[in-house]
């Protein structure tokens, strides 16, 4: 009888140990996957935000004359502005930076460039599987740091991006988020004002 009880006890204890080991392995895999996703999202978020900042927003109003419009319209999800290539006298290029929603309901960033009414190119940051959480990513400020939507008062903008990618958990509804906020002062507007 004692031997029988010993066997039952050993089976129970052994089962618990095995369940704990298997559960731990699952959790390690899950956490590892989610950490990898977060780190990948970190790289993606930095690359896209820097590209948006340095390749586009930094050029707002570049090489424009004092009499030319710099900003056409501003809103939370859309920013239309003008810029001209360095050492160029051709017409200013119209840029539209905006958030759009794809067929799956995922938000992505799109930047279209219009040289002439017939020359339009579009650059889209919609590299699945990540997407942007909110459509309203732009906030505009005047010279004193107050929020404004008046295109004549805009001096800098804040861009709030939350990159989202599906994570892995038992219920399969985990989303890994990577928020990043950056600012861009429109230096050319200040310089243009100085020359008026």
């Amino acid at each position: 009888m004692i031997v029988f009880l010993d066997i039952i006890g050993a089976v129970i204890a052994g089962t618990m140990v095995i369940i704990t080991i298997i559960s731990s392995i699952f959790n390690v895999q899950q956490m590892n996957y989610n950490i990898q996703t977060l780190l990948a999202l970190n790289t993606t978020a930095n690359q896209i935000s820097e590209f948006l900042d340095l390749s586009y927003l930094e050029s707002v109003g570049r090489n424009l004359k004092n009499t030319e419009d710099v900003i056409k319209s501003v809103s939370g999800n859309r920013f239309v502005y003008f810029s001209r290539a360095e050492y160029s006298d051709i017409n200013p290029v119209e840029y539209t930076a905006e958030t759009k929603t794809d067929a799956n309901g995922n938000v992505f960033i799109s930047i279209s460039t219009k040289n002439t009414p017939t020359s339009v190119s579009v650059e889209v940051f919609n590299s699945s599987p990540f997407f942007i959480e909110h459509t309203n990513i732009f906030t505009f400020f005047d010279i004193d740091g107050n929020i404004t939507t008046n295109i004549n008062d805009v001096r800098y903008c804040q861009v709030d991006l939350v990159f989202v990618e599906r994570g892995w958990d038992k219920k399969d509804n985990l989303y890994i988020k990577y928020p990043i906020t950056f600012w861009r002062f429109f230096k050319n507007i200040y310089l243009n004002q100085l020359n008026t």
Binding site: N42, P179, F185
Partner: protein, 144 residues
């Protein structure tokens, strides 16, 4: 089961529990490390904001190079920079010293000043230093 066997089993359970707890503890540390990248990256963006503000003050002629030095020669602390997307409160201290073009401190008036932004944040209830960022600015006004 003899007393010796029971003690052996108990020891095995304690050893196994310790291993499992340590393993989970290490995993949570790794998650915290990965998440901290978010805050460090954001701190860099905050420092960039300060540097841009400083540069704009100069190029727009709103404040002179010397006035900017006077403004920041004693460290200026900004509290409670809150982001809607991040559950962290940032605060930063801006200070300026005259320097040469490489950022070496000079004890006299110079055409260059080094701006330093020290950033900290309250993360998961704990105050954490998020970095110190320097940038050297040159006097761009006509005539130096």
């Amino acid at each position: 089961m003899s007393m010796g066997q029971m003690l052996t089993v108990l020891l095995a359970v304690i050893l196994f529990s310790t291993i499992v707890i340590t393993m989970y503890n290490n995993m949570f540390s790794q998650i915290a490390l990965a998440e901290d990248k978010i805050y460090y990256t954001q701190a860099i963006k905050v420092s960039d904001l300060v540097f841009q503000q400083f540069e704009i003050e100069m190029v727009s002629d709103r404040t002179s190079f010397e006035d900017l030095y006077e403004k920041f020669k004693n460290p200026v602390k900004t509290d409670s920079l809150v982001f809607s997307n991040l559950d962290v409160v940032f605060s930063y201290i801006v200070s300026s010293v005259y320097s040469d073009e490489s950022g070496n401190v000079k004890n006299e008036v110079s055409d260059h000043q080094k701006l330093t932004v020290d950033i900290e944040g309250i993360i998961r209830g704990e105050k954490k230093f998020l970095g110190s960022y320097d940038k050297v600015f040159s006097d761009m006004s006509i005539g130096g």
